[in-house]
Symmetry: C2
Subunit: 159 residues, 2 copies
């Protein structure tokens, strides 16, 4: 099957210079401030974005070291199938984070709940909507057994 | 900034052969059956996936016709900034759908709530977790004013 090319539309600035200590989810990064810099040519697409309290950012995990199909997640102690985890080292290392939008100034989105590395290439911004993105579930696999897993990353998946 | 290459890890089979009439969200595709075929080399990564009731599928909108930065969403009647919409025609046309997992047999995931076109290239599978993916919001921009918008697509964004 053919391959496809992704082109960053911006870059995400956060306080996190390395994987170690970076929150592994927006839900574990409450209040952490970041700035999303959108490249000028895409700025017209930001119209109406300020009406949304939360946004999905999609981005490229640009500092992961390849991928393995079995990984031990940060929150767990035993190897799991990669696709049963949110580990960053994936065949297509695309991340998604539901961040809070504080305000937009020109080409800059001031966000909170930032959980990505500083300098991460931005691929897309989509509005978060509980109507689309929230579903009740009765089973969350191995995560159901996690009592007090780590909420921050270490270097296991990174170069 | 450099570009990145994505390589499909599978293909998604659904009843939808063309955009017209295809549900625009999983939330509007309740019960619609699909089959996710994962290419053999990635099958080891499916271990433990069957514990999850719902999965994020990430995929490539392979039949959209370029992108514009202002679009009129299916659910609305006036142009909006692209990044304030979930329209498929994006600079990086990556879609995400939270589908329900019925069962896995070998390299096939039998799913429900399928809202993508038949033959869509699969990029990633991530476990859905309300802990990570659900946030209360008080504002959803232009969507808050939509009373009875369309729940299915037409051909406006497609080739």
């Amino acid at each position: 099957m053919k391959q496809f090319t992704v082109t960053p539309i911006g870059v995400i600035h956060t306080p996190f210079k390395e994987a170690g200590g970076t929150p592994i989810q927006s839900a574990f990064a409450e209040g952490v401030e970041g700035v999303v810099e959108v490249f000028e040519e895409y700025v017209p697409g930001l119209k109406d974005v300020d009406g949304f309290e939360r946004l999905w950012l999609m981005y490229w995990f640009d500092r992961v070291a390849g991928h393995k199909l079995h990984v031990t997640p940060y929150m767990d102690t035993q190897p799991r199938g990669l696709f049963a985890t949110r580990a960053p080292s994936r065949p297509n290392p695309i991340g998604m984070s539901p961040v809070k939008l504080d305000r937009i100034e020109g080409n800059k989105l001031y966000i909170r709940d930032a959980d990505m590395l500083d300098g991460t290439p931005l691929l897309d911004i989509k509005p978060y909507s509980p109507k689309f993105d929230y579903f009740e579930v009765s089973r969350s696999g191995w995560m159901d057994a996690v009592k007090e897993g780590s909420r921050t990353a270490d270097e296991r998946f990174h170069t």
